[in-house]
């Protein structure tokens, strides 16, 4: 198409895009317009005046054709031309950036690797492209992957880069060539950027410098057949023995709706396997898999799909995730307003769980409390905590059947702040003193609740209803209510449990809250919300509106060996403490890096009241895999309260332990430990198809052009016309365009043909 255009209009379309149109005739345009008008009027008059056998319509058509013919001739006489700015040969530079990452070694369907284009086009002595470029420009070669730098010749490329950073490559080339007249940059890559550095800043800099980028996209836009294990959604720290629910995103191309196994390995030991049904081409499916991690410490969990027959890329079937299995005992305070069997059976349910310390404070009479599983005689000595420091020692709070009036206003505010500021988990249990029946409306705690409180019942006997509990659609996918059953058996498992009772009619969740369990029964006018949760501030709140979950253990319909009650409470309390922040928390910006890559360590520091501290002395103690210890000061970032940051560069391969300690005025505020894994990555094999959109965007936003290996031959001439640097102005005649000549002949032929058809000749 472009060649036809060039044949008709003498120059390629790019010339018309870049150039300015003008008429080269020396006299004024007005004079030419007068001449054209006179000629046209004379022509029309001659046809109008003429008499013969022709009709008025026929004369009008012929007059029109003749006028158009005259107009074309006049345009030609006006000497139309293009004013074009072109670069001066051999006075400008062009930077050629070549992708040096592993993905360039991937082969296309025809068996030719992406790097072979580079070899043919740039390293071969017979390369026409290099010859044409060299004729016009001084060439400077760069290679880029995770880093970028100058090379003397493309022959130095090794294609060993483990990830690609396009933005960094553009920045480096622009800065390196900033002192010379630069006509443009040519970037040869598949466009698969896996370093997450935004391109926008680099492109703005190039726009400001007026440097166009000409991108050459190599590789196929679709690699098929192929299966890719994409993102893995998994927490970076879990409590030992917790059931983990992990989402894996799997995309396929060319395999159709088949099934594949997803295998989870912990240190080469298979700990879970799930059969996954693949989605349609290019449509990602989310596979959910459940497993437990045993043993305390950092773990490297590998997710793997075995290579399938005929699969083009196998190395994108495996992902590894770093996770820390924490072995601490998480302290949970359960405050119960009266002796109830929930206390007994909840304690029994979590008794075997070594990672949960369920501290019970039970009011047995006015101002008389029973304390269970406290650390020492001083703990909760005066009843429910009255200060933030005392309350914030716990990671979660369970409120049983206790009326709101028991608490002072300050205590109610502390409970609300415990969730919103400290980030703790709060579980409300049903009972005569809970929810609306306990007078919680209008208190600071009410809005923490994930359910809407109605008016308390006016029945003097109180509300009472049996509830048959079933999981909601959201509950079927939530780990807290799975009861250890396979996902397709969760509903049956709940159906097998006996009915329980409630004294709190609740039928509505708050906006933003999610119901996981609902209940129905003869005495219930509306569906009862049994279990609901919401995020509130930094923490979460959960409501369990039944009063006797212990029936799931004691009821005669429940077999003695049934563990539903135990599993429910273990999962519930583990969920309650999951993700609750510490006063000092350290995290690295990446869980796995390559040796030599920079890592950002960010630490958030608060005091025991969880108020951010900006004047702490924070130290990071970094232990390498071989035991080398390095201590680094971590400085306040100034941008956010309580946030401290430091950058370091691990050089060894293996597992780094980073321990951060914060102190203020000699008082230790807290410490935290995190882990970092250094190893080469397979990122280059994920999303490895050609990213045409990214490359087009780079070209479009900088004024360059996008090419494929098939049409890259026009690159040298295009740079000449569109490039920056030292340029000169050329005036290109257009009057001799073949198009105009063809147009003249066509108009003349048309008039002749018309006369012939009408018999006017």
């Amino acid at each position: 198409m472009e060649r036809i255009f060039e044949f008709l209009f003498k120059y390629p379309p790019l010339f018309f895009e870049q150039g300015d149109f003008t008429f080269g005739a020396p006299t004024s345009v007005r004079l030419w317009l007068i001449i054209a008008g006179l000629l046209g009027a004379g022509t029309v008059a001659s046809y109008t005046i003429a008499r013969g056998k022709s009709t008025v319509t026929e004369r009008s058509v012929m007059a029109g054709l003749r006028v158009m013919l005259l107009a074309v001739i006049i345009v030609c006489l006006l000497q139309p031309s293009l004013i074009l700015s072109t670069v001066v040969p051999q006075q400008n530079f062009v930077g050629i950036l070549i992708d040096d990452s592993q993905s360039m070694l991937l082969t296309d369907e025809n068996g030719i690797s992406r790097s072979s284009f580079v070899n043919d086009a740039f390293t071969s002595d017979e390369s026409e492209l290099v010859r044409q470029l060299s004729d016009r420009f001084a060439l400077r070669f760069f290679r880029f992957s995770d880093v970028a730098g100058r090379i003397d010749s493309p022959a130095e490329l090794t294609y060993e880069g483990t990830h690609t950073n396009l933005a960094r490559a553009l920045d480096v080339a622009r800065e390196e060539l900033s002192g010379v007249p630069l006509s443009g940059l040519v970037m040869i890559t598949d466009g698969a950027d896996n370093d997450n550095q935004p391109l926008a800043e680099s492109l703005v800099s190039l726009q400001a410098a007026g440097v166009p980028v000409f991108t050459v996209g190599v590789g196929e836009e679709t690699i098929a057949p192929d299966i890719e294990l994409g993102r893995i959604e998994m927490p970076r720290a879990v409590l030992e023995g917790s059931s983990l629910t992990v989402d894996a995103v799997i995309t396929q191309m060319g395999f159709g709706s088949s099934t594949v196994p997803l295998i989870v390995e912990d240190e080469l030991r298979i700990i879970a396997e799930e059969t996954v049904e693949l989605g349609p081409d290019r449509e990602p499916v989310v596979a959910r898999i459940y497993f437990e991690l045993e043993g305390v410490g950092p773990r490297r969990v590998t997710f793997r799909i075995p290579p399938q027959p005929g699969e083009r890329v196998n190395r994108n079937n495996t992902r590894s995730v770093q996770v820390e299995v924490r072995g601490e005992r998480e302290k949970v305070l359960y405050f119960e307003g009266e002796p109830r069997f929930e206390v007994k059976f909840m304690r029994r349910a979590v008794q075997e769980d070594e990672n949960i310390q369920l501290v019970v404070l039970q009011r047995t009479a006015e101002s008389k409390f029973l304390r269970l599983d406290v650390d020492d005689g001083n703990e909760l000595e005066f009843g429910f905590p009255t200060s933030r420091e005392e309350m914030y020692r716990y990671r979660a709070l369970i409120l049983g059947s206790v009326e709101a009036s028991f608490f002072t206003h300050d205590q109610l505010q502390i409970i609300a702040d415990f969730v919103s500021e400290r980030g703790g988990g709060l579980l409300f249990l049903g009972g005569h003193g809970a929810f609306a029946e306990g007078g919680w409306q209008g208190t600071p705690v009410e809005e923490v609740m994930p359910v809407v409180l109605g008016p308390p019942t006016d029945d003097p006997q109180g509300f009472f209803a049996e509830v048959k509990v079933t999981p909601t659609q959201a509950g079927l996918a939530h780990p807290s209510v799975l009861l250890g059953a396979e996902q397709d058996q969760v509903r049956e498992r709940w159906n097998s449990l006996p009915t329980v009772t409630t004294v709190n009619p609740i039928s509505q969740v708050r906006p933003g809250a999610t119901a996981l369990l609902s209940g129905s029964g003869d005495q219930l006018a509306l569906e009862q919300i049994v279990l609901a949760f919401q995020r509130y501030g930094r923490g979460k709140s959960i409501a369990l509106t039944i009063q006797d979950s212990w029936l799931w253990q004691m009821h005669a319909d429940v077999p003695l060996e049934d563990q539903s009650h135990e599993i429910f409470w273990q999962q519930m309390i583990r969920w309650l403490v999951d993700g609750v922040p510490e006063a000092v928390e350290a995290v690295t910006d990446q869980e796995q890096v390559e040796p030599g890559e920079n890592v950002q360590l960010v630490t958030n520091v608060s005091d025991s009241s969880y108020i951010e501290v900006n004047n702490a002395t924070v130290t990071a103690r970094i232990t390498s895999p071989t035991g080398m210890v390095e201590e680094l000061p971590v400085d306040w970032t100034v941008q956010r309260d309580g946030e401290y940051s430091v950058e370091f560069r691990p050089l060894e391969e293996g597992e780094y332990e980073v321990e951060v300690t914060a102190e203020r005025n000699g008082e230790i505020l807290g410490s935290d430990k995190t882990y970092l894994y250094t190893a080469s990555r397979d990122d280059e094999y994920f999303s490895a198809s050609r990213h045409t959109q990214t490359l087009r965007r780079i070209a479009d936003e900088t004024g360059g052009l996008f090419y494929t290996p098939e049409d890259v031959s026009s690159l040298p001439e295009d740079i000449r016309v569109t490039g920056a640097g030292v340029t000169l102005v050329e005036e290109l005649d257009l009057w001799d365009m073949p198009f105009l000549f063809i147009l003249l002949l066509t108009l003349m032929g048309a008039e002749w043909g018309f006369r012939r058809i009408r018999g006017l000749i």
């Binding site: 002796p339 007994k344 059976f345 009479a365 212990w550 004691m554």
Partner: protein, 327 residues
């Protein structure tokens, strides 16, 4: 849990008693009293026959009142209409309002209250005839125990007695059960199985009021049918059950009514609190042997019953309930 000073606890308990006991309504008599303890139940029934016949006769005659009765003629004095307009409206008041809540409907699912004081019905051949020993002090003892317990402990309890057979599946809705006079126990196989399942599921059994070696042997024989190998051990005073609510520093022998001078019902009997634990060391059976807490609960309002023993019995009762509801 810190132990509270003994003196403080005693003072509190005394105050509680002085408030509590005058208010206790004794509306029902126990099915037996300690006085005619050794009377043949059958002969007592025969003696009562004429009395029952008289009661029936009276009741029937009351129902057959004459059709017409001459009413006295009443002439309203002048101005009576005006006076009646000034009089306050008549208010109908019940003659007696029971402070307790309503009794549970037989078809009602229990659960409205967090706690039901539940008595175990077991088969037996006790001193009071076949199948009757479970009902000793029932229901007065149970009801009175609840009245006092609710004043001592913040317990949202069902106010009435609640007796369930050991082989009834509903038993497992009541995680604490109370069995008395187990010296007359002779459980059927379904009862044995029911009790075993109940305890295995997490139930708690309180045993009380049996005396001497012979009755111990009977109870042990029965409980060994439930758990053949599980040891029965003394619960020493350092066990948390003695401080779950009150601090108890001594195990006392609580006498039956009328036996204050000689509490023991057998020669040389020493009171024991024994227990049976599950496989992970959780107390599931508490055995009050050679003592009678139930009689103290039942007769605490009797001026002749020693305060020392009723106090101990209620303290022990509160501790057992609070402990069993939290452990």
């Amino acid at each position: 849990m810190q132990r509270r000073p003994r003196a403080r606890v005693r003072r509190k308990r005394t105050e509680e008693r002085s408030e509590t006991f005058p208010d206790i309504e004794i509306s029902q008599q126990s099915r037996r009293s300690r006085g005619p303890e050794h009377t043949n139940p059958m002969s007592r029934s025969l003696l009562h026959l004429p009395v029952l016949a008289l009661v029936l006769f009276t009741a029937l005659n009351t129902g057959c009142a004459p059709d017409s009765v001459d009413e006295p003629t009443y002439v309203a004095p002048p101005g009576a209409d005006f006076m009646s307009q000034q009089a306050p409206p008549r208010v109908s008041r019940p003659s007696f309002v029971d402070p307790r809540g309503p009794r549970m409907n037989p078809n009602e699912i229990p659960g409205r209250y967090p706690f039901y004081w539940t008595r175990a019905i077991y088969s037996g051949w006790g001193r009071r005839g076949w199948g009757q020993s479970w009902a000793t002090d029932y229901p007065k003892g149970d009801q009175q125990f609840l009245v006092v317990l609710k004043r001592l402990v913040r317990l949202n309890a069902y106010d009435w007695d609640n007796a369930i057979r050991l082989d009834d599946p509903t038993l497992r809705r009541f995680p604490i059960i109370y069995a008395v006079e187990v010296g007359g126990m002779d459980m059927t196989n379904p009862e044995v199985e029911g009790l075993r399942n109940y305890l295995d599921a997490g139930g708690f059994l309180i045993v009380d009021d049996f005396w001497g070696q012979r009755e111990w042997d009977v109870f042990e024989y029965n409980i060994r049918r439930v758990y053949p190998d599980r040891p029965i051990v003394d619960i020493t005073l350092d066990h948390p059950i003695y401080s779950a609510y009150y601090d108890i520093e001594e195990v006392k022998q609580v006498p039956a009514i009328g036996r204050a001078m000689y509490p023991a019902e057998c020669y040389g009997c020493v009171p024991h609190v024994k227990g049976m634990y599950d496989e992970v060391g959780r107390l599931m059976v508490i055995i009050n042997f050679n003592t009678d807490l139930g009689d103290a609960w039942e007769w605490a309002e009797d001026p002749g019953y020693p305060l020392e023993y009723s106090t101990y019995a209620y303290e022990m009762g509160a501790n057992m309930i609070v402990y069993a509801m939290s452990h």
